[in-house]
Point group: C2
Chain length 904, copies 2
């Protein structure tokens, strides 16, 4: 016969701390504490297995349950030395839910079961406290009415009377009226109804929503814990409280928590009375306080982790009601992990496994001063695209941002959406706020790349760039008004919330010495341990020397992606680039390219110098040319306006000519248009110039005695012939440069695999290409047929409706895109065993994707400089997961915080 | 020792007609004729193998060649009864190239070799005709100078003198001057030099270009034919001519050709003298004429195909110089094939194999009256997107086209590019001409779908839609001017070239009885035979009942794709559709959908009725919603103009509101945006309406006693969950309709496989979906990352530079897209063995792609109605190719005509 119930209590405990699958977290920890001999009120746990069976059997229990349940009721009566319904010493119990994963507040608790009209009298006699007894009965009636009988809590709350006995009478009437039956006087009936109600609460709407958000399996079910009541509200020698063995916000090693005397558990969190710091307990009740300190110390050592505990003191006797691993901030997680290694409680591997990679973010981005922040009003919420806090004056035009920033103003760039022309403004702004676009929209990608706080897709904003204002609900924010954005939460606040730069960033930027930055040292220690564990290399995506320097400080082992075109958007270069594009013949185009060559060469030299011999992957030009020209619609409007106003004929003509060329370059779907290697094939002279700049720069570095190792990468290859065309140019130019300078630079030529056709024909391509870098942004776009600039319009609907488990632009879609990555890697290595394979999409900084890349056998991931630490830690987690022989499943390893609730 | 030379001539012939690989086409046919005992002047063929060896050995011959060559020279002298260089009866020969595939005019011929200062005297004596002899010598010097010594032909042509002897002297001087050496007097030296020159001419630039265009292998080499000269120019009892055993233009069974008396071969084609119809030869030279008729009859029966022959009559004696299978028009190909079956010359299978599927086109599209056409000027040339001839007045606005067409005018729609809003105009216009876009641009696809003559991507056109004119070079064509376009050649002509509708189309449209249409009968006969051979089913893409009716007449076995959204573009529906899109809440959207329901139901009913129980695959809505709204840029310009002119405030406000909604729907890459099932998932009510319309229509048809078999197809599925979401709606609505009407309609639910992710996860999808239809247009777009609306800008460069073998939007890219089709089919059938699989992209009407689909094991292809006959024939060819056990290779089975030469 299956076993559904497990007893706990001194000497008779049947479960233990490892049985969370069966007993739930609370039940397992109660059993473990009881086994350790700690003062746990006796009780029993009804297993999650019974819950699953209950749902499978259409809310029916197996026949054997009744007798098993009665057996455990008797056992509990024996252990407690009291009997249910006893007129002199009645047994009272609590009934609590407890699933494997904590779901705070999602399901229900009922206290004081066993009270009825008869036993309440016994309690009065026992305690000599009629008010206490009736208050307990009142609480039972309200909780039972709410949880079991589904009577709205506010109906109970509306009933007020100074005499608790009167309240009890009125509550009973309310129950009779709403449920059509009187409150059940039989304690066993109460117990059974409460048990069933807890099982049913597993599928109440808020529990379902919670599990959706935290990606908890809906099928695991909950356990029910039935435990002897102890009372913290029997008088002033009674108390109840909660605490942590270390500070969960900062990680500091200190006894942390709060308590109330003469109170029941819910009073501590209800906020009616102000609880007192737990350290004061020692003064008030020295004996139980000491015992509590000893017990929690012991629990921390036993579990080797911070404990989050609940206790009650009944007439100076301490009872432990709960203990569990304490949740903590990123900062605390790192500090606690490092401290515990120093205390020899855990090994470095364990410390590494306890820090979630994304938690590192919290140490990197500027923060709002928390006390100041609460004074400001949140006016809207968008997507938390790039974490960090930023405040400044609103501007709608990147040039204006630059102008004002150069004058020393803090600015925020607010746009409907951003485009590559806005980069200078984004760079100068404190942060970026857009009304449209998803987590990988231009603003989001560049924001993260720059480590710039960004809130995107804030659809409540009606941006009117023309009139230089935005509206949100009834508020209008004009150019020059202050707002503040929190890139970690997506919140937009009215006004200038003060921020501060993190210690870690100060060290990376060289404004703070590492030895004066204790937080940086914790951060650095965890990452050093991670480096000792990981096998996957981590590179950075960096386009300019400054980013490369940051990347090095963050531990990058090379540059995995330098986007050469970003260099063309600089103020002094854009006009030359436009000259090149507007050229109608090779000669004019060549003239412009000749001007760009020395500029690019200088950039590359800076990168090589910063990377000191580490590999630098440089991608030839990628975006469609019209991105460098004024917007077509803007020109059309300008021309129409000039014409309507009978403007100067010459100016109209000039604008029309420009518009005509822009029209020629216009594309309906630029993401699938004339870009990538398609540009270099139609205009080989562009590739020639870029390759020359790379190799001349490398030669200059070599002359100075340093090594430069360029890996030249051809983008958007779909057919091996495209690669061959461009690779031939690379080799030809390399030979020329070697001949001219007498120095032969070691370089590689490889390709992005970002077009599905390239993945499918990777064996053909690998015969020619020396390395692969999966461009997972484009590969995700093409594999799904999702434009990342547009998918925001429906992708949240998809995630909310479980059509997709997560945004594939954030976490690699293993079932589809991942298959192409595996297929491409296998095919590539089938013809070139030592093929170097990496990824350089945004996914290179996403922990779950990094772990996938490790599993898929890639050599490296490349992430934006500010994500490098995250990827290093994730790469270590990949090895630890492998060691734990946990086979990789579709469900994420990390708990992900909910980003948006509902579709709003 | 390898054999490099093959003799031909009565009794001693070493080769035969099947040895084209070794002897080239000309050599093999000469050998075959000689073997048949026909009067062929003796000679020998130097094999292609030697040519290949020649190139492989850096233009060196094996040592053994010299003696073998000498041996054959002797053999020839014996056979001819003459000797080279003989002072009394010298042997003269021609040297001609001859590869496996005919490359007319691409390589070189030299006549009269063996003449020198001595033998010319012998010829004078032999013929008594000094002028003739010197004329022969002159021709030799010119041809030798040009072909062997590389002296420009025009230098020879500049030398004129009435006395041929003087010309000969001057030619010899020219040769001495330019080559530094005298003309070689030794006949064997002449011969060897000529032979080497022919081998070298294999790689002259025009031969290379030709082979590129016609996709002929550059490595097969040419043979050289050395043959005893016979002279059609010895006097009036001499003649030379060319002919066909049947009319190659019409296929009529008639002796067809032309000849000249007293002339050499080149004079017939040179156009200096007007040749006479070959039937007249019988009057002039009855004996050789009868012999020629007998011989060519015999050759046609021998080869069982039309012969294209060359002959010379020397002093009343007939010599056959060449025979080969005659090239013919599509019309002739069909007629000849059918006639030959009737004559029991060939079997139906052979007849089917002799008609290239694309040749059927020529019987379907209206034609320009050929005599009239030559009177008009060609002003530009674009891509021949949709064949057929069209002439009409130019209009730049689809509404204007409709207006004028309704008034009875013939119109041509000229646009920079077309969009779905132009469909009504395209439908009403005679033809469509665009300045941009490739072979699968909107204009091209819809043009073919409609069977509408279309020339697209005509980049010489500068279309100024605003001023209602286009410019081409120095010409300006204004609204209302007549132009004519030929969709088969891409030519644009100024003026109104008269056209006539083809017989086939008249029959299909019901305006001509089949029995009165002999061409239709030929067409129909070939297709009936093809149907008896093919296994692949052929369906049609049709959106409206009229197209379905045409499809039926063209032999479609069902509808493979009904694009439901096309129904929304109709004049009476677009406003309702816009109402639906502009709705900001479900209630308003539902109101608009309720209005659309009866309209869609009526459309579907018409389709079901037309198809009489054959399967009808209906795709739920696919394009992004903004396609139904006014263009964003147009609105922006309107608003700007109104504002600049201080227009009415109310109107500005209204336009701005519309613009605001259009901006919300605007997408950067609409092809990868919110379209396909993504619409039906975010707005399930649209799918509900469409499914209800389908099933209610099917029910109405069922009530009338006819069968309707809807296959409901969900577009743009990338993840099985998307399919499941939509399939659940289909089943739910089907159940509702069945309950309401009491009639249960048999239907299927399947999906398009057009997203790479769908192909990669086809096994997951096939568990749920009952059929697959590969949407090869989108699949090609996503697999390559090529936007078909934009790829025109670089795809020709790719094809010209051999980066791609052909435009993947025209012929399926077997190496990439084809792999995904195979992978998707295999994975799909691995979980559902009877999965019905088809394709419904434009490729369904491309012969090579149809053959691929057969090979890949698909069940059907679906093509536009006007391509159905082509696909039927191609499907038969697929079976014949399989039978011939020719393994499918990457090179096309069909000769494709060159569409554009060079990049221009």
């Amino acid at each position: 016969m299956a076993k559904y119930i497990y007893f706990f209590g001194k000497g008779k405990t049947e479960g233990n701390g490892k049985m969370k699958d069966t007993l739930g977290g609370k039940g397992a920890n109660l059993a473990e504490m009881a086994k350790l001999g700690l003062p746990v009120p006796p009780g029993f746990t009804i297993s999650t297995e019974l819950c699953r069976l209950f749902y499978k059997s259409k809310m029916q229990f197996p026949k054997s349950l009744k007798s098993e349940f009665n057996k455990y009721v008797k056992k509990l009566e024996t252990a407690a030395g009291k009997k249910f319904g006893d007129a002199s010493n009645p047994l009272l119990v609590s009934v609590r839910s407890g699933a494997k994963f904590s779901m705070p507040g999602m399901m229900d608790t009922i206290l004081n079961l066993g009270l009825n009209d008869k036993t309440v009298e016994a309690m009065i006699k026992l305690t000599g406290n009629e008010k206490f007894a009736y208050d307990c009965y009142r609480r039972l009636l309200m909780m039972f009415g709410d949880v079991v009988l589904d009577i709205e809590r506010k109906l109970f709350e509306a009933i007020r009377d100074p005499n608790p006995k009167t309240v009890v009478e009125k509550y009973k009437e309310l129950i009779q009226k709403h449920s059509g039956k009187p409150f059940p006087q039989d304690p066993i009936t109460q117990l059974e109804m409460a048990r069933d109600a807890v099982f049913k609460s597993w599928n109440n709407p808020r529990a379902i929503t919670y599990r959706n958000l935290y990606k908890i399996d809906h099928n695991i079910g909950t356990a029910v814990n039935i435990q002897t009541m102890v009372f913290g509200n029997m008088g002033n020698d009674c108390a109840t409280g909660v605490g942590f063995t270390r500070n969960p916000a900062t990680g500091e090693k200190m006894f942390y928590g709060e308590y109330l005397t003469n109170a029941q558990g819910e009073d501590v969190v209800a906020g009616i009375r102000t609880p007192r710091p737990i350290l004061e307990l020692a003064k008030e009740m020295p004996q139980p306080a000491k015992e509590l300190r000893d017990i929690t110390d012991r629990l921390e050592k036993h579990y080797k982790d911070v404990q989050d505990f609940e206790f009650t003191i009944e007439k100076n006797k301490l009872y432990m009601l709960q203990t569990r691993v304490g949740k903590r901030t990123g900062l605390a997680a790192i500090r606690i992990a490092v401290d515990m290694v120093k205390e020899k409680l855990i090994k470095p591997e364990e410390a590494v496994s306890r820090v979630e990679p994304l938690q590192l973010n919290q140490l990197m981005h500027p923060m709002f001063n928390p006390t100041e922040r609460s004074k400001f009003k949140v006016i809207a919420k968008g997507l938390n695209a790039s974490p960090g806090a930023a405040a400044g004056k609103v501007y709608f035009d990147p040039d204006k941002v630059c102008e004002m920033a150069d004058k020393g103003e803090r600015t925020l760039l607010v746009r409907s959406e951003t485009s590559p022309d806005d980069i200078h403004g984004m760079y100068k702004a404190e942060g970026v706020l857009t009304a449209t676009g998803g987590m990988t929209s231009h603003a989001a990608v560049v924001g993260r790349q720059m480590g710039k706080p960004s809130v995107v897709g804030c659809s409540a904003l009606k941006v009117d760039e023309h009139n230089k204002l935005f509206r949100v609900a009834d508020k209008t924010v004009k150019e020059g008004d202050y707002i503040s954005i929190d890139g970690a939460t997506g919140e937009v606040m009215l006004g200038d919330v003060p921020t501060m730069e993190s210690e870690v960033m100060q060290v990376v930027k060289g404004t703070l010495a590492p030895e004066k930055a204790p937080l940086y040292q914790y951060f650095d220690q965890i990452l050093k341990w991670a480096d000792g564990i990981k096998r996957l290399k981590v590179r950075a995506n960096a386009d300019i020397p400054r980013d490369a320097q940051y990347a090095m400080k963050f531990g990058a082992e090379g540059i995995g992606l330098c986007r050469t075109e970003h260099m063309f958007f600089a103020e002094d270069r854009l006009p030359i680039m436009q000259e090149m594009i507007l050229a109608t013949n090779l000669e004019d185009r060549q003239k412009a390219l000749d001007k760009l060559l020395p500029l690019q060469r200088a950039d590359f030299k800076g990168l090589f110098e910063a990377m000191r011999g580490r590999p630098v992957t440089i991608r030839t030009i990628d975006p469609p040319l019209h991105e460098f020209l004024p917007k077509r619609e803007d020109l059309m409007v300008e021309v129409a306006t000039l014409k309507a106003k009978n403007g100067p004929v010459e100016e109209i003509k000039k604008k029309e000519q420009l518009l005509s060329r822009v029209n020629e370059l216009h594309e309906f779907n630029p993401m699938m248009g004339h870009r990538g290697c398609r540009l270099g094939i139609v205009y080989p002279e562009i590739t020639v110039m870029q390759v020359r700049a790379i190799l001349e720069a490398a030669t200059e570095v070599a002359k100075s005695g340093e090594t430069a190792f360029p890996e030249i990468m051809i983008p958007l290859v779909g057919h091996v012939n495209e690669f061959n065309h461009q690779a031939a140019i690379v080799h030809k130019v390399a030979d020329e440069v070697a001949k001219e300078t007498g120095i032969k630079i070691k370089y590689m030529v490889g390709t992005m695999i970002e077009i599905p056709r390239a993945a499918v024909t990777a064996d053909e391509i690998a015969k020619e290409a020396q390395f692969f870098s999966f461009g997972t942004n484009d590969l995700t776009q093409m594999t799904f047929g999702f434009s990342r600039d547009d998918a925001g319009k429906f992708i949240h609907n998809y995630v909310d409706n479980k059509i997709l488990p997560s945004d594939p632009f954030v976490t690699i879609d293993q079932g589809g895109v991942g298959k192409l990555i595996q297929c491409g890697t296998e095919k590539g290595r089938s013809v070139r065993a030592d093929l170097k394979v990496g990824i350089c999409g945004e996914h290179g900084g996403d922990p779950e994707s990094v772990i996938f890349c490790h599993t898929a056998g890639l050599n490296y991931v490349s992430a934006s400089p500010f994500r490098v630490p995250i990827s290093r830690l994730a790469a270590a987690h990949a090895v630890l997961r492998e060691k734990a022989k946990r086979p990789h499943s579709g469900t994420p390893y990390y708990r992900v915080s909910p980003k948006r609730s509902g579709a709003g």
